[in-house]
């Protein structure tokens, strides 16, 4: 097991380095010029432009820029935003925290409900409940999230007035203590619902087909033949085997959770990474963009690492295949 973890960690570190290089290069391939964005539409005198270019090191050859970038990155310095002059790292991390606050609970909720739904659907394979759950998850999967978000705003914020339409806290009376938590939850409810519905559908679809497949495996007959209740067969034998493909899907989606909510964040004006991303693109804010790329990519690598480790925990055959004895 230790060798398996070691191999995965080494691989993850190499991936992060590669991603940093790619992230650096990609922003330089984007059309447009950061100096123009910085000085605005105003026709800047050439000497000012070259001064700014020199200040930000943009006059250096690309490999030198890359080297400086990597060295600074290793020191935790991702540069400063062209736009707000704030350090990129703290800017990006603060926004990432807000995004995760929305995404992680929604994804966990979606995974738990999705798997539970799938097990129930598989148990009643081909009957009413199964068809109903399949239909619900198909609808959830197909609804565009920006449409659902706006409909929810119209119903619950505009017409009923139960929930706030946007933001993360009330600006006038944020409250304190339990009041602040309740205020947050009221803001959290609608965007979280949007995200949960989508991922619930994603997880439930994969989980259902996986559970149905497992339900027809031979070992299920052995479990039944012992005299176990169908409940025990499902939750103890079918679920654990059926989870293996589901873990891939959940891990994959966790990896994209930092950037997976851009539309939802835009609809509900949730001050997360997605919003920062859109602003940064509009302003060609290179350092912020590469910071977001880097962070999002590291999140994907970490999620994949966690997925690999979870695989090994669930499926003992993976540990053997990877060479490490449990």
């Amino acid at each position: 097991m230790a060798r398996y973890i070691g191999a995965r960690l080494t691989w993850a570190a190499a991936m992060v380095l590669g991603i940093a290089i790619v992230a650096f290069l990609i922003t330089h391939l984007l059309p447009g010029n950061p100096v123009d964005a910085l000085v605005g539409d105003f026709p800047a005198p050439p000497e000012y432009v070259s001064k700014v270019r020199h200040l930000f090191g943009l006059d250096q050859p690309l490999p030198v820029q890359l080297w400086l970038y990597l060295v600074n990155m290793a020191r935790g310095n991702l540069g400063f935003s062209f736009l707000s002059r704030q350090p990129v790292l703290s800017l990006v991390l603060a926004r990432a925290g807000t995004t995760l606050l929305l995404m992680v609970p929604s994804l966990i909720l979606a995974s738990l409900i999705g798997v539970a739904m799938a097990v129930r659907a598989a148990a009643s394979h081909g009957r009413m409940l199964d068809s109903a759950l399949t239909a619900v998850s198909l609808i959830g999967y197909s609804i565009p999230v920006f449409w659902l978000g706006q409909i929810l705003v119209v119903i619950f914020a505009v017409n009923l007035g139960w929930l706030p339409a946007e933001g993360i806290r009330s600006l006038r009376e944020p409250g304190s203590g339990i009041g602040a938590v309740l205020d947050f939850l009221r803001h959290f409810a609608l965007p979280a619902f949007c995200i949960t519905v989508y991922y619930l559908a994603v997880v439930a679809r994969v989980a259902r087909s996986s559970m149905v497949e497992m339900l027809h495996q031979d070992f299920v007959l052995t479990a039944r033949a012992k005299g176990l209740s169908e409940r025990a067969v499902l939750w103890r034998h079918v679920l654990r085997n059926g989870l293996i493909p589901v873990i891939t899907v959940i891990g994959y989606n966790f990896g994209y959770s930092l950037t997976g909510a851009i539309l939802t964040e835009t609809v509900f004006a949730w001050p997360g990474l997605g919003e920062l991303f859109v602003t940064a693109i509009a302003n060609r804010d290179y350092p912020v963009l590469s910071g977001i790329f880097l962070l999002a990519a590291i999140a994907v690598v970490l999620a994949n690492l966690a997925t690999d480790l979870l695989y090994a925990a669930v499926d003992p055959r993976v540990r053997i295949a990877a060479g490490g004895r449990a």
Partner: protein, 331 residues
């Protein structure tokens, strides 16, 4: 064709008819099977692939897919209890105790992500107290002649023979009065097969349980069963004491099967074999299912299905007009 067993039958199957129905198509996998197993008795079922022997084994425990498999006719009684109409949770009172089953391929029939000890313990827990699980699991592993360290292993870490011993330990963990063994050695090599069969004999002697051994291999059945049933196309066509049936087969199908199993040579030097193909099972047979392949077929065979007729000593019976006292007799 209920066999020799009188009182104390752990299993009685009478005129069982099982179909698989899906999308408007039906397969009559078992059409007219009757058998009985007395307490402590070893009974064999022989037949080729697709003759319905595995369906028969599984239907005894309700392990056929619900909604697709249907018992159309007949009766199954286990320990005197009629289980024919059982559904859902009813089966939990039969499965494991009094009837346990081991299957053909011990790898696919073991849960790949559960430790062997947990899989055995689960069977024990179902029929004993939780406190008894560790001691009883160790005892079971000893019983099937495995080292106790296998309890911590996963199925893929064991050899084929070890896995089948684990399957046996799971089955025995339920303290069955009848062990159904569905081709338990078919997936194993010859040496391991011999070891598992020897183990089965010892266990039966030690535990006094009855066994229903299903195999396509007459050699396996000959040395392990008191009585034997021959199945063909969903019908039990012949039954009796194993030695009697195999040495003096009455049904032409049994004769062909025994000849093929012995690698008997015909006068022209070719191996004896049964010509033709097994009948299709989309429609239930109205006449003898072996009719199209039988070289002793006569007019009577095309008129009516033969009943079980006495064919020799010790309850030897066969469903064939050849052994009817007078061919002209009414059914």
């Amino acid at each position: 064709m209920t066999g020799a067993a009188g009182g104390g039958a752990i299993l009685e199957v009478h005129a069982l008819h099982v179909t698989y129905e899906s999308a408007g198509r039906a397969v009559h996998a078992v059409q007219d099977a009757s058998l009985s197993v007395a307490e402590g008795e070893a009974v064999g079922i022989a037949g080729e692939s697709g003759c319905g022997k595995s369906t028969l084994a599984r239907v005894l425990l309700g392990l056929v897919p619900a909604g697709i498999a249907h018992i159309r006719n007949g009766r199954i009684a286990i320990g005197g209890v009629d289980v024919t109409g059982f559904a859902g949770r009813d089966w939990e009172q039969v499965r494991g105790q009094p009837v346990a089953i081991v299957f053909q391929d011990p790898l696919s029939f073991l849960n790949p992500v559960m430790r062997v000890g947990d899989q055995i313990g689960e069977a024990v827990r179902r029929h004993d107290s939780a406190a008894a699980v560790p001691a009883r699991s160790a005892e079971l592993v000893d019983l099937v002649r495995l080292q106790r360290s296998v309890l911590r292993r996963y199925p893929h870490e064991l050899s084929g023979g070890m896995r089948q011993r684990v399957m046996l330990a799971i089955a025995l963990g339920c303290r069955p009065r009848l062990l159904v063994a569905d081709e338990p050695t078919t997936a194993l090599d010859a040496t391991t097969e011999a070891e598992i069969l020897a183990l089965l004999r010892e266990l039966r002697r030690e535990l006094g349980m009855a066994m229903l051994l299903i195999s396509h291999d007459l050699g396996v059945l000959r040395w392990n069963c008191d009585r034997i049933y021959i199945m063909y196309a969903g019908h039990t066509v012949e039954s009796g004491a194993t030695a009697e049936v195999l040495s003096r087969p009455a049904h032409p199908y049994t004769r062909g099967l025994a000849g093929a199993a012995r690698l008997a040579r015909l006068p022209d030097g070719h191996f004896a074999m049964i010509g033709g193909d097994v009948p299709r099972l989309e429609r239930p047979a109205r006449l003898c299912p072996f009719l199209s392949r039988c070289d002793a077929a006569m007019a009577r065979c095309r008129e009516a299905m033969p009943p079980a007729l006495p064919a020799g000593a010790n309850g030897h019976q066969a469903r064939c007009w050849l052994i009817a006292p007078a061919h002209r007799e009414a059914i």
